[in-house]
């Protein structure tokens, strides 16, 4: 090997280049955060316009614009401002109230006002939690180029399994009962996810179709179980209450509903990160997702990886369901989930299929959800506005050219261009 003569003068030594490389990475990270950030900001602005336009008093004021222009403008501003303030307070809580309650607590030791003040914030975290689990599930699938549209159904069976273990098994101490119930949810979701995985691996049947079909099966299964074998003695389509030994414990007393599920979700997010980038199996999953041909040539067993990935993805979604039952509802009813599984698909995309991105996106969606209720009750703005805002965020992130065009951002690095990959000179 002629390595002595081969080096021309400008051969680049690794340490020198790592500075340039670090700069390029930093620039890349900044650039990749710009679009989601601007997407959110733009969506909020557009949401404000929609709020204004859908408010009868504002429309009336604008009809009289030429007589009283200032009226129209100031009314528009105040309506939108009130809506967003309500959204903020609903999501985070009122800073004034928080400050006040801290003062009171310092003075009198009364915790109740403190709990009241932080309630909104805690609710937002509670709402973020199932998003984190389900978002991780879908994101993991995406890493393997698999589209798990079945998170909702896997969530349901996870909830069913966790509920069953929660109410049916007696006499276990919490440190056994809770993990067991969680495990039940995980296994149920894993099985539910592995079926479409197996069908894809063996028969090439597309997982989009099969996961959707499995969703319907799980909804009907839930109906059946909740009106029959798993129903309460009084006949209502709800399971019995799970035993306290199976609860995911609350961190604080009522009215704060924040439970350990949130921290479990964060831990699982970290685990997924470690799994994907620091383990052999994770590398195989990513390889299969990035280039199945190269993975095959390198000896990876594609069929096995597909099944395993769908199983783990299902497990994570099942955990989302278990989380809701064990931490929040403590029993399972038919009106169990409000579309967490489907939103999580958008979430995973928003988070770029990376655990950190998923957590951030989940927090965004959770806080928006938390704020929406208050927006509706205090200012009368329907919660659907939030769905519109969420939808716009997703559209902007999925089609970054819109944001880039709007804000005159630089196009993506030229060396990402397809033709740069052609071999040769």
């Amino acid at each position: 090997m002629a390595q002595e003569q081969t080096k021309p003068q400008e051969s680049k030594q690794p340490p020198e280049q790592s500075v340039m490389q670090k700069m390029a990475i930093r620039k890349g990270v900044f650039a990749s955060l710009m679009v989601p950030f601007l997407a959110i900001v733009t969506s909020l602005i557009l949401g404000g316009i929609i709020i204004a336009v859908s408010s009868p008093p504002v429309l009336a004021a604008w009809r009289l614009f030429f007589q009283q222009p200032l009226e129209a403008l100031s009314l528009t501003w105040s309506v939108v401002r009130d809506a967003y303030v309500a959204l903020f307070v609903g999501a985070f809580g009122s800073p004034a109230q928080i400050a006040q309650s801290i003062k009171e607590w310092r003075a009198t030791g009364e915790t109740r006002p403190l709990l009241e003040a932080f309630r909104s914030f805690s609710e937002s975290l509670v709402m973020s939690t199932p998003y984190i689990f389900a978002g991780l599930a879908v994101a993991l699938g995406f890493r393997c180029n698999l589209f798990n549209i079945g998170a909702e159904g896997q969530l349901f069976v996870g909830g069913l399994a966790a509920a069953y273990v929660g109410y049916a098994i007696k006499g276990l101490p919490a440190y056994i009962h809770l993990p067991l119930a969680l495990l039940a949810g995980i296994l149920a979701g894993a099985i539910w996810g592995s079926i479409p995985g197996f069908l894809k691996a063996r028969l090439g049947a597309h997982e989009v179709i099969n996961t959707i079909m499995m969703n319907w099966i799980s909804f009907r299964l839930t109906d059946y179980l909740l009106t029959g074998p798993m129903a309460r003695p009084d006949g209502l389509p709800i399971t019995p209450e799970i035993r306290p030994s199976a609860y995911l414990p609350s961190l604080f007393p009522r009215p704060m509903r924040l439970h350990w599920g949130f921290f479990l979700a964060l831990a699982v997010a970290f685990l997924v990160y470690w799994f994907l980038w620091k383990t052999t199996l994770g590398m195989e999953i990513r390889m299969v997702g990035a280039n199945q041909n190269a993975a095959r040539t390198a000896g990876v067993r594609i069929s096995l990886i597909i099944v395993v990935t769908m199983a783990i993805s299902g497990a994570l979604a099942g955990l989302a369901g278990a989380n809701q039952i064990l931490g929040l509802d403590h029993r399972m009813a038919r009106a169990f989930s409000t579309g967490y599984g489907f939103d999580s698909i958008a979430l995973a995309l928003l988070g770029n299929s990376h655990p950190l991105g998923v957590v951030l996106a989940s927090l965004l969606f959770g806080f928006l959800r938390g704020g929406a209720a208050r927006m509706q009750s205090v200012v009368g703005i329907p919660v659907e506005i939030i769905r519109i805002i969420q939808g716009m965020v997703i559209v902007f992130v999925a089609a970054p050219a819109i944001i880039r065009g709007l804000y005159r951002l630089k196009p993506p690095k030229e060396d990402e261009a397809l033709l740069a990959r052609s071999p040769g000179s």
């Binding site: 002629a2 690794p14 383990t279 994770g282 040539t297 390198a298 990876v300 030229e414 990959r421």
Partner: protein, 506 residues
């Protein structure tokens, strides 16, 4: 009369790399200009600038004396610049006509495709320039040489005056290359001007009017075929004396490492691709498989490496039957595979250089302990290997897609050759590479062979086969027509065998 095309001071920077450094280039009407250079020298970058795929950081482009701005391929095409890429951009399931008119469709009444008008025009072009092609044929049924003609017609259809060819002879047989040269001459006779990117020094000397050599982004030489030799060109490209032949001690073949008996393999369309092939490869020898692409070599290599099931016959490696073995088992048996399509099968482009260097060894110690990847070990090995194998990269954490083709190939070579291997299956290992890289990889292959590795080299490049092999097998339509010791093999004999003429062996 101003020159047809002038590039002045073209400079293009990428993070960590100055790809083009104040390049000046002039193309006169009716001229054939050859652009030579190592991988990473900046040839394709320069042509991508000309074609509008990149925007130059400095410099200007002048067409017929007037400055022009080229913001994308559309502008380039409007200016009469057309590019025939090394990797064809054809839709296999479309006809020739559909492929040629894609993007500039002729329409009747605004919405209906007018295939007839297009195919008439294609026939005209075909006639005028001597590019025989059937407008109604499906591209996937055409041989590579004919597909290339389709690419050329595409460019002429859009009224190109300046044609840029990127490695046009990479996939052609010696006979097809001759045809191609005739086409080039006929294009020039009819007023076209040609820029030719190539690594093949002998072809460049044969066809070019002017030769420009790039090295590290700069123009280092401008010469003509009268003034240059293969040796002088190679030296300019690399910046030092280049050894064009490999010093090889005579083969000392040992035990049989690879034994193939009566192998039958089908292709994706369930047609026979490998038709009863038998041969042996011993330790310490190189068996070269020559032949034009598409005669079953791909399927043969896939069968040997476990990527394709076998219909009949047997394969054994070191005595163990591997006919039904999985790719991983074959790898673990000490086989290295350098695949013919590095980007499709050899690398994960979005992964880093470090990850690609352990693409098939990540699960072994020291790179993993159980399920846990040992990243410090992986990174250490990666740094060592890019140094040892002279891989030019800004670092090991860069996605391998950032590297030039030659360096990507070196990553694959670095990965495979760093393992303990008894059998090396190399398929077109120097496709699209520059002289320096070719020299290097050839050296690696010969060294492995000297160390006692058995090497199966599959390549459509006759020079490569003849330089490296101890014995040469020629494949034609799925059969091996002959296996000759290299001393008995001449270009003529091999060329005839590659075309199916069996009497040549006598």
């Amino acid at each position: 009369m101003p020159p047809l095309l002038e590039l002045r001071g073209i400079t293009k920077r990428f993070p960590g790399v100055l790809a083009n450094d104040r390049i000046d280039l002039t193309l006169n009407e009716g001229e054939i200009l050859a652009l030579l250079g190592e991988n990473g020298a900046g040839k394709t970058t320069l042509m991508n600038v000309l074609y509008g795929l990149y925007k130059p950081d400095e410099g200007e482009i002048l067409v017929r004396g007037s400055k022009v701005e080229i913001h994308g391929p559309h502008d380039a095409i409007d200016l009469g610049i057309g590019m025939v890429h090394q990797h064809f951009m054809l839709v296999p399931v479309f006809t020739v006509t559909e492929n040629v008119m894609l993007g500039v469709e002729t329409v009747k009444a605004g919405v209906f495709l007018d295939r007839l008008a297009a195919s008439t025009r294609i026939s005209e072009i075909s006639e005028r320039f001597g590019l025989k092609v059937d407008p109604e044929a499906l591209v996937e049924d055409l041989s590579v040489g004919v597909q290339q003609r389709v690419e050329i017609i595409k460019v002429l259809y859009r009224q190109a005056e300046i044609l840029i060819f990127d490695e046009p002879t990479a996939v052609l047989t010696p006979q097809e290359v001759e045809e191609f040269f005739k086409v080039v001459h006929s294009l020039v006779e009819r007023g076209k001007s040609i820029i030719f990117i190539s690594h093949k020094l002998d072809e460049v000397l044969e066809i070019a009017d002017k030769i420009i050599v790039l090295r590290n982004g700069k123009v280092v030489g401008s010469t003509t075929p009268d003034q240059a030799t293969e040796q002088s060109l190679a030296s300019m490209m690399v910046g030092r004396e280049v050894i064009l032949s490999v010093d090889k001690p005579p083969a000392q073949p040992g035990e049989v490492v690879l034994e193939v008996k009566n192998l039958q393999v089908l292709d994706d369309r369930k047609l026979t691709a490998v038709d009863g092939v038998s041969f042996q490869v011993r330790a310490g020898e190189v068996l070269g498989v020559a032949g034009v692409q598409g005669n079953g070599q791909t399927q043969l290599v896939e069968a040997l490496t476990g990527l394709r099931p076998i219909e009949g016959g047997g394969i054994s490696i070191l005595g163990r039957d591997t006919s039904k073995a999985s790719p991983r088992q074959i790898i673990e048996a000490g086989t290295a595979h350098v695949p013919e399509d590095r980007q499709k099968d050899g690398l994960v482009l979005s992964f880093t250089v470090a990850e690609n260097l352990v693409l098939n060894t990540y699960y072994e110690t020291p790179f993993a302990r159980g399920i846990s990847l040992q990243n410090p070990e992986i990174e250490k090995a990666a740094a060592e290997r890019i140094k040892l194998f002279d891989v030019r990269t800004p670092g090991i954490f860069v996605p391998v897609s950032n590297l030039s083709g030659g360096n990507q190939q070196k990553v694959i070579v670095a990965r495979e050759f760093s393992r303990l291997i008894k059998l090396l299956v190399a398929s077109q290992p120097t496709r699209g590479l520059d002289v320096g890289s070719i020299e290097y990889i050839h050296g690696c292959i010969v060294q492995k062979r000297n160390e006692g590795c058995a090497v199966l080299l599959v390549s459509p490049e006759l020079d490569e086969i003849m330089t490296l092999s101890d014995r040469i097998a020629v494949m034609f339509k799925g059969k091996i027509l002959a296996i000759l010791p290299v001393e008995e093999a001449t270009r003529e004999k091999l060329g005839l065998l590659m075309a199916g003429v069996q009497e040549a062996v006598a």
